[in-house]
């Protein structure tokens, strides 16, 4: 696992431009959703002292007033957010084809390889997504099993602490389920690239099999990145809290810190992808699994691993 993580860092380092692509893909939709909010804020408080005061501690009175006097914004922005989230999901999926493709086939970032890979695998990944969502819904059902078990053991009217902890258990299991679904999805996508697989059900099965047969490593890898993410988030909160004063330098510093955090967060995701890819390859090599690497006419550098 640590070897894969190390390889992942190396791959990430040699493909730094991918971060820029991902970051821009994240930033632009974000700005798109922010523009109407900015406009309404500006219209409502742009010439009020509130416009300055909000640079300091948040004013709850302002929040309620904004909600009340800007009802129009709430009929458009949630819909916009929803659409942007869906679109970003697809965009992310599209880019992941490029990421896995270029990580697999090239020792350094090559734009042509990246975009060709993104285009090549997008259709397959979309099909895969449909199957994965089915798995997700199945796993979501685990929470109902907890509810059913609670009812079976404690009846219809359990003490409140039983319901409370059962709910946390449900949430924990759901979280575990979501992590596993994403792991399966990741390894299925990797499999599709590795084997140039067109049959996504087969890739899903291989991803599923790989995730569980190497569970300590696949889960450990994800957990390691998750922990790193939490540490980075804590560090962000610590740093961001330094920029509470209502001053220009503080606001600018906060914005820089926020965006820096997002770059690191995206970097961690890419490190995870690279590490997973490395783990997949190493595991297949170790078990003597046959690797069918198809260059498929892509301009590729020799593998570095």
């Amino acid at each position: 696992m640590f070897k894969s993580l190390k390889k992942g860092f190396e791959l990430f380092r040699t493909h730094k431009k991918v971060v820029v692509i991902y970051y821009l893909a994240n930033l632009i939709p974000g700005i798109l959703v922010t523009i109407p909010v900015w406009a309404s804020l500006n219209r409502f408080a742009g010439n009020s002292l509130m416009g300055q005061k909000l640079a300091g501690p948040f004013d709850m009175d302002f929040l309620f007033e904004y909600l009340h006097y800007n009802k129009g914004i709430f009929s458009t922005v949630p819909a916009l957010v929803f659409v942007v989230f869906i679109l970003y999901g697809f965009l992310s999926l599209f880019l992941s084809g490029g990421v896995f493709s270029t990580y697999h086939n090239s020792k350094s970032y090559q734009a042509g390889l990246f975009w060709q890979g993104a285009g090549k695998y997008f259709g397959r990944y979309l099909r895969l997504l449909v199957f994965v969502m089915a798995v997700y819904f199945l796993l979501s059902g685990v929470q109902f099993a907890v509810l059913g078990l609670r009812k079976l053991v404690f009846g219809d009217d359990p003490y409140q602490y039983i319901s409370y902890w059962a709910n946390w258990l449900r949430l924990g299991l759901m979280f575990l389920g979501v992590i596993i679904v994403f792991l399966i999805f990741d390894y299925a996508r990797i499999d599709a690239v590795f084997n140039d697989e067109h049959r996504m059900l087969l890739s899903l099965w291989r991803g599923f099999k790989f995730t569980f047969t190497n569970f300590t490593r696949t889960f450990g890898l994800a957990l390691a990145i998750l922990l790193m993410g939490i540490l980075v988030l804590l560090a962000y909160n610590l740093v961001a809290s330094l920029f509470a004063p209502a001053a220009s330098w503080a606001v600018v510093s906060l914005i820089i810190t926020q965006q820096l955090y997002l770059v690191i967060k995206i970097g961690l995701k890419l490190i995870l992808y690279a590490s997973e890819l490395s783990l997949y390859k190493n595991s297949l090599s170790a078990t003597g699994g046959e690797e069918k690497i198809v260059r498929d006419g892509l301009v590729a550098e020799p593998d570095i691993y």
Partner: protein, 708 residues
């Protein structure tokens, strides 16, 4: 003699029949605190499985009016839950706190027998209750009135509503005369608890459960039907109540527990006694865990549910805060004890309800300490021991007098004890004060109703809540800021002192406020209480520009530092400049040559109908601040300044004293746009969106989880 013999023999008989108590009438207060008009002796037995109450009641009632009274009126509140045709059910749509009325069991109350006790008036109700039903007539000369009972619907004429009844007496009651009535009743409690009374499994919160006499006022009986948006109104008295429940049950009730007796049928009878109260409620459950504490000579008893017993300390601490603040601020809580009940899970319909010396709280397992719901509810409900209980205003007709004043005091206490920021919520960086919460509710619907209305005549339940809780909290806080904290304290203390154990009305509060403040505040109360006028002052325009040297015919001002000119709507054609005088134009040229002057113009508007004097603060680039006071009468007012520094901003009510103002954001205006805060807010929004987009696992988790 015969009468005395009957009395003695019946006493002997009673003692032999009811050996469970050797009763001597307890006394709490040496001197009565209240007029003690309606006194009740009740013996009630709970059939826990059937949710039935079998009760016998002796009412001793005194005609304190100047009228000769020939009929009595009674509340039969539980009949609100009798069927879906009652006025309550019609008004509420059978919905209360997520429960559906009658879903698992309707409630009702039937008077099986009502009799006038014609003989032995001097006998205590306690003694009468000990007499077997069949022997009552023999001993006490009962005149049966059961056939005389008629249901009336004084509020809406809904013939299906059986929450008020009237009975004609065989003989009239003269002023000052007392009567005794004997009643035998059966009541069924709704399940789950609805509108603060009812049953959930083995938990019972028993409120509004016995035939209760109305209040006779100068213009007759005041006995309203049970409505969806109203609470109660009653006269003070003493209560002797025997409550028989399964022996495993713990009981809590209004007043003090005098004695517990074990019965042969696996039940126990708890004898409670209360003096100078106007209602009696009780609770019972085998699942209660009891905790006790004392603060300022008040014994606090907390009945927690087993699954939330770990929160007992939190409840106790909140109760201590409430008692200490109320006693220190408003005066003595005269009762020796206080009982706080934690309602059972799935019995939220009984949560957060006040009764004399007894109330229910509201919490849930796992409630974080930073979300001060427990504290908020306890401080509020305890406050009702003052405003509702000791000052027994009519909750049907003037709900702001109890709910509004209590909530106002509650926000003050919460802020003092847990503030200044986040006194209600201080959790994960979110800080919300109770006052902000009240204002948040108010600003969304500030004008649906005037404050003072009959509870069932408000536009909606929401409007009732805003008019009864939020708006009074805000206008009383506004008044406090206007008059000063100390004067407001004096007003509240005088109001309490003058009206303890009476039935104050809105005008009584206004009179006290006028008298104590030494001002005629009718202009304020007229708007706050009897209109739906909205208060919104705004700075609509603020400009500041460098002055050019005058050309042509013009006028200028003296060299005096003060150069304010004021134009108001009623005289906008003339520029008034009370502090300065006109001089020739050469003076301006001289000034202009010496230093740059700025012409600053501010327009302030009254956007709502509520008129209130406001302060204004003008800030200039050189740091100078000018404060003005505008009486706020006109629709707008213009302020003009010619100063050596440019205007930065103008603010109405800069210290946010006027909590009634529905829009603080428009209270200020800057000459230059102020974007820094908006930039920060937008950046946070952008960051949140970016973060969530990059966190599909979290989105999947939240969208898939069915919630707590």
């Amino acid at each position: 003699m015969a009468g005395r013999f009957d009395f003695l023999s019946s006493l002997i008989l009673l003692i032999s029949l009811f050996p469970r108590f050797i009763i001597s009438q307890p006394v709490i207060f040496d001197t009565p605190l209240s007029p003690r008009i309606a006194n009740y002796d009740i013996d009630v037995r709970l059939d826990a499985e059937k949710s039935l109450l079998y009760g016998r009641e002796v009412l001793s009632w005194t005609n304190k009016s100047a009228d000769v009274i020939s009929e009595l009126q009674f509340h039969l509140y539980l009949n609100a839950f009798r069927n879906n045709l009652s006025t309550y059910m019609r008004e509420s749509g059978r919905l209360y706190r997520g429960n559906i009325g009658g879903e698992r069991g309707w409630g009702y109350i039937d008077i099986r027998r009502m009799s006038l006790i014609s003989g032995a008036q001097e006998v205590e109700g306690l003694e009468i209750l000990k007499t077997p039903e069949n022997d009552l007539s023999t001993h006490y000369g009962l005149i049966d009135l059961t056939e005389q009972i008629r249901f009336i619907q004084p509020d809406d004429g809904n013939e299906h509503d059986k929450t008020v009844c009237q009975v004609t007496l065989p003989r009239s009651i003269s002023p000052g005369q007392s009567i005794k009535l004997y009643m035998n009743f059966t009541a069924k409690l709704p399940e789950p608890p609805f509108e603060r009374t009812g049953k959930m499994k083995e938990y019972f919160l028993v409120g509004q459960w016995f035939p209760k006499i109305g209040v006779y006022e100068a213009d007759g009986w005041n006995t309203h039907q049970f409505h969806a948006n109203s609470e109660f109104f009653a006269d003070f008295g003493n209560y002797n109540v025997f409550i028989t429940v399964p022996e495993k049950n713990i009981v809590g009730a209004t007043g003090i527990e005098v004695e517990i007796a074990n019965n042969e049928d696996s039940t126990r009878t708890h004898f409670y006694y209360a003096e100078d109260v106007h209602d009696f409620a009780w609770t019972t459950s085998p699942d209660f865990v009891e905790f006790n504490g004392t603060v300022q000579d008040v014994d606090i008893r907390i009945l927690m549910q087993k699954d939330r017993a770990y929160q007992a300390t939190r409840h106790l601490e909140a109760a201590k805060v409430a008692i200490e603040y109320y006693q220190n601020w408003y005066g003595d809580y005269p009762y020796p004890n206080l009982t706080i009940v934690d309602p059972r899970r799935r019995a939220s319909g009984s949560a957060g309800m006040e009764y004399p010396t007894f109330f229910t709280g509201g919490t849930m397992y796992g409630l974080p300490s930073g979300i001060r719901l427990v504290e908020d509810v306890i401080v509020h409900e305890f406050g009702h021991n003052y405003f509702y209980h000791m000052l027994a205003s009519n909750e049907f007709e003037e709900s702001w007098l109890d709910e509004g004043i209590t909530t106002y005091t509650q926000t003050r206490i919460m802020n003092d004890a847990y503030g200044p920021q986040g006194d209600f919520i201080d959790f994960f960086g979110i800080r919300l004060n109770g006052l902000q919460r009240q204002r948040a509710e108010y600003i969304f619907w500030p004008d649906q109703d005037q404050t003072v209305r009959k509870a069932w005549e408000y536009y909606s339940g929401h409007s009732y809540a805003i008019s009864s809780y939020s708006k009074p909290t805000l206008f009383l806080t506004t008044l406090q800021n206007y008059l000063g904290r100390e004067i407001m304290f004096e007003i509240m203390q005088s109001y309490l002192g003058r009206w303890r154990f009476k039935h104050p009305q809105t005008q009584d509060f206004v009179d006290v406020a006028n008298e104590v403040s030494g001002q005629n505040l009718n202009w304020f109360f007229q708007q706050a209480l009897y209109s739906n006028a909205v208060l919104d002052y705004a700075v609509s325009s603020a400009i500041s520009r460098e002055m050019k040297p005058e050309k042509g015919y013009g006028f200028t001002l003296s060299t005096d530092d003060k150069r304010e000119m004021v134009i108001s709507r009623d005289d906008s054609s003339a520029m008034k400049n009370p502090d300065t005088s006109l001089s020739d134009s050469s003076a301006l040229d001289e000034i202009a040559e010496e230093k740059i002057l700025y012409y600053s113009e501010i327009k302030v508007r009254r956007l709502g109908d509520f008129v209130f004097p406001v302060e204004l603060l003008m800030t200039f680039e050189d740091g100078e601040e000018i404060r003005e006071v505008w009486d706020g009468q006109e629709l707008w007012k213009k302020y003009v300044y010619i100063r050596p520094a440019k205007l930065v901003s103008a603010t109405v009510d800069p210290d946010r004293k006027i909590l009634l103002d529905v829009n603080f954001t428009n209270n200020s205006r800057t000459v230059e746009a102020q974007k820094l805060g908006l930039l920060k807010l937008s950046a946070r929004w952008l960051f949140g969106i970016q973060f969530l987009m990059e966190q599909p696992e979290l989105v999947a988790l939240l969208s898939g989880f069915t919630g707590f």
